[in-house]
């Protein structure tokens, strides 16, 4: 067997079998030593990749989870141990196979091996690998079968966690042959390269939580500087590469309906339906996840407090489009959901998808848009150009971007993100006990607020005498924020903040889609050397934020809405 750490092409580079065992030991040692720093940047980066990996039904643990399991001494350790044992066992065989020149296979032959019964073969950079025995050990679950009979490259381009030396080590153990030169050429010409290569440029001020797919948030103080968040600074939350869509040939399909379905061009959407504009806040389910990570490690992108923003969106009302397709109030007799599919897709062609309740979609008060404008301009590429769904009051994940298809149905979307992600669980639920069917898909979000300035750890001069604290507050479901309480002493005493809304008039009940910015100016307490600033909001259903993080902690790190706490030092001059 070969040491392949420096042989990235996996082409033969000499027999160095004795070192292979060292590499394995080193990989396991590395995994063990990283167990103590769950919040390191590499950890957050790998967790960010997890978030977009498992697109298919069923509980498919990601690398992060497997590593967590590995480190926690659970089943994954056994899997890796078993793998190690098997690797040792096949060592001599592999080395022998290599030294004796591996057979050459055609793509046609490889394609015959797509099941555990027939064997699972894949190709990578000209090599052919029989990974049948590895399937059960794959930290990403049986998702690996998507690649069966074909090339690994497009999947690994999507899930960059595979770009690690020890992953190549593992793969090399399963090499059984070479792909024919003819088929290698064909594959190369088919290969699309980096699926993220056409992603748009982004503003350098954004704080990047993952590059591929791109997930980033603005510096928090930008949020309170402007009631409307400029599009460039609006948090980006992509699950997959950004599709580039030609607006001239764009077509939206509204499936089924009494009229047998409806196909609408961008121009149709703009000309056949009244333009409707709303100002609405969007928030990622994982906003403030980093605070949950401080209690106990969770799986997901390590968002700060700025995975939230407010924009003015304009487009056709979904209600109008559904009515044009023949879906009126009668649809409620048999249907309960409206499903959306995006044009963003993974290497296997699986598109991003989600659904919302039918009554939200059909209600005149629901204000659901097929939006083609953000802040007075065409949607930016990162925000769904040319058309996205905008479901005000509802978690970002249902606001499907690059919208391709709408389906009215009795069932929720079957997509991974509707069924096995974006759900909340008890702090008592772990990855061994979680049953995704036991919790509802997140739709409306709970009441939320955060301090945008001063920043945690800031130092203020006592000479200032006064401190101005600013922040945002919002609640899901169109519930208006009616009060924000701010404390400078960790929650012992409170004062009521001044609220700033976007418009003069107050919205009708249940249609307050946009946040309130808030502000408090308070005298610095003469006796304090440190302030613990806390904020908590109340919405018009008088729901409040929970006091602390631990009791709302959940394994996926969503719905993080405990009181926000910021510590500030007062410096005597």
């Amino acid at each position: 067997m070969l040491l392949l750490r420096r042989c990235r092409g996996l082409t033969p580079c000499g027999g160095l079998a004795p070192q292979r065992g060292q590499e394995w030991r080193r990989a396991l040692r590395l995994a063990s030593s990283s167990s103590s720093s769950s919040s390191s940047s590499s950890s957050s980066s790998s967790s960010s990749r997890d978030e977009q990996r498992s697109q298919h039904g069923g509980h498919t643990p990601g690398w992060k989870q497997a590593f967590a399991g590995l480190l926690a001494g659970t089943g994954a350790v056994l899997a890796y141990g078993l793998h190690h044992h098997q690797a040792q066992h096949t060592d001599a065989v592999s080395v022998h196979a290599h030294l004796s020149r591996l057979p050459v296979f055609s793509q046609e032959e490889v394609t015959k091996h797509r099941t555990l019964q027939d064997g699972v073969w894949v190709t990578y950079k000209g090599g052919v690998y029989d990974i049948t025995d590895f399937v059960a050990m794959h930290p990403g679950g049986d998702k690996i079968l998507l690649a069966a009979g074909g090339a690994l490259e497009p999947f690994w381009a999507l899930y960059a966690v595979h770009d690690q030396d020890h992953v190549l080590d593992i793969l090399s153990e399963y090499k059984v042959g070479e792909l024919s030169a003819e088929d290698q050429k064909k594959q190369e010409s088919l290969r699309s390269g980096d699926p993220y290569s056409s992603d748009p440029q982004r503003h350098p001020a954004l704080r990047v939580n993952s590059q591929k797919p791109f997930n980033a948030e603005p510096p928090p103080e930008i949020l309170s500087d402007s009631y409307i968040t400029p599009s460039a600074f609006f948090f980006k939350r992509n699950h997959l590469p950004v599709p580039r869509v030609d607006p001239a040939s764009y077509e939206l399909l509204v499936e089924g309906g009494p009229g047998g379905g409806l196909r609408l061009s961008l121009e149709d959407l703009k000309s056949r339906f009244p333009r409707h504009a709303i100002t609405a806040t969007l928030q990622c389910a994982g906003n403030r996840r980093s605070e949950m990570n401080q209690v106990k490690h969770v799986k997901g992108l390590n968002w700060g407090i700025a995975a939230i923003g407010t924009a003015t969106w304009a487009g056709a009302r979904l209600r109008d489009v559904l009515q044009a397709a023949g879906y009126g109030p009668d649809a409620a007799r048999w249907a309960r959901h409206v499903q959306f599919e995006g044009l963003d897709k993974d290497a296997a062609g699986t598109t991003y998808g989600a659904s919302i309740p039918l009554n939200k979609a059909l209600s005149e008060d629901g204000d659901v848009l097929l939006a083609y404008e953000m802040n007075g301009e065409p949607l930016p590429a990162d925000h769904g150009f040319p058309v996205r769904v905008l479901v005000p009051g509802t978690v970002g994940a249902r606001n499907v971007k690059w919208l391709a298809k709408i389906t009215v149905s009795a069932e929720e979307s079957a997509s991974h993100w509707q069924q096995n992600d974006y759900k909340g669980f008890s702090p008592a639920t772990d990855w061994d006990s979680v049953d995704f069917k036991s919790a509802p898909a997140i739709q409306e979000l709970p009441v939320q607020s955060a301090v945008t300035t001063p920043a945690n750890g800031a130092v203020v001069s006592r000479a200032e005498e006064q401190l101005t604290v600013k922040g945002y507050a919002w609640s899901g479901g169109g519930r208006e924020v009616v009060r924000v309480d701010v404390s400078l002493d960790g929650g012992h005493t409170w004062q009521v903040a001044r609220l700033k809304a976007g418009e003069e008039f107050s919205p009708p009940p249940g249609r307050a889609w946009a946040w309130k910015l808030w502000e408090v100016t308070a005298a610095l307490p003469p006796e304090s050397r440190q302030l613990e600033i806390v904020c908590k909001a109340v919405d018009d259903s008088y729901n409040v934020q929970p006091d602390s993080v631990a009791p709302v902690w959940n394994l996926r790190g969503v719905l993080s809405n405990a009181w926000h706490r910021v510590r500030v030092q007062i410096q005597d001059d």
Copy 2:
């Protein structure tokens, strides 16, 4: 001046002027000494009366508040002190007037004195009193002017707090004459006696928080014994005497509208509109107020955890009735609210009133009923016979009973209970700083849960080995409870309770009007001698209950929905 403590009729009973000063001192001493026991039964009983006193716009502090102020050394002490001083000053005059026989006045003469300019005169048991100087000192505010020119008896019958010796003492100081014998006779024949005399009989198991008006809740364990709360045990929350309504002559007025208004008999309601039935939970805004009282005294009835119940209600949809009166979706162009008036009224004829948002009333999904049935039978008298409004998902106070009138309007109800009560405030807000206009009227309630069994302070035997904990959970706005977490160790570790719904199928989003009962059976921890049982619920907008009471404490003691805590002893055998 006279000592009148034993002369309840306020008829002359001899000059004992020297003792009067002693009485005043004694009254003030009593007031002072009671300051330390804000949770005594007399305190809770007087606070219960407060709740139904102030029916008119403006901030009218009740006796409780005045006493709280008195005890806290605020303005009320000044008022009482001033009053004391003035009383001393008028002492000689009164004694002189009495000794020299007081003049006789006709009712006509008394009726001329109804303003501060003309003087404010009242009658009580044959005496005539000029209370002009007392108006500014009345702990109940200028509400006292309602009685100007007339008899005090009907007001005092309604507001039993006046039934105290020192109140009669105060009144006696203002006596200026006698009512003519002829007018006394007329008054007696008009006098209706106790306005609560026609209140219905109630079940003796109810825990009474106030008798007049009647406010009571069942023992908590009854709630978890039956998904549907039997009507007899359903909490009673009356603001005024129960009106006795003849169903044959009952008439509901729907004001205005394109058709010029609509008058409906009970038979009209039943025959002209489809009967619609829903199972819905009603909760008083003050449920669990007693827990807020433990943090700091609040004003209001000292409810435990059982001011909540679930019933099946049936009646006409409000939406259908409004449409019959000509109010369709177009009404939203000019109107925002639907106001209700009850037949229950105070001595001045002011009826109970409230309003709800128009979109809730008109929405097909709103399920607002004009209910004439509760649990399959005509509404009981305490629950609004023959017709009440049933606004599912909305605080009890808007579910107006004994419904007399419906008004579609641009403005909310002007009633005291809509404008100056049933609103939530910051813990930082006190009776000196409160601005009732700054908070919205409570409509939808926040997520709630409580442990119904075991009771706080219960003792369980270690031989039992297991403990079963039961409770209820509910959220306002049709938000379904999706999870209840239960802890036996004060909130450090949690387990997920089994939920019990009333029906097999799950309600559409936003229409989950009824509670979930829940249950957990857990092994007794071998090492514990005491358990702190805690429950917290999550609704389908993933709103959660706050951890602790103090940060949601508010001066009126409403919206008490922190984690519920119950301490239980484990007894070794």
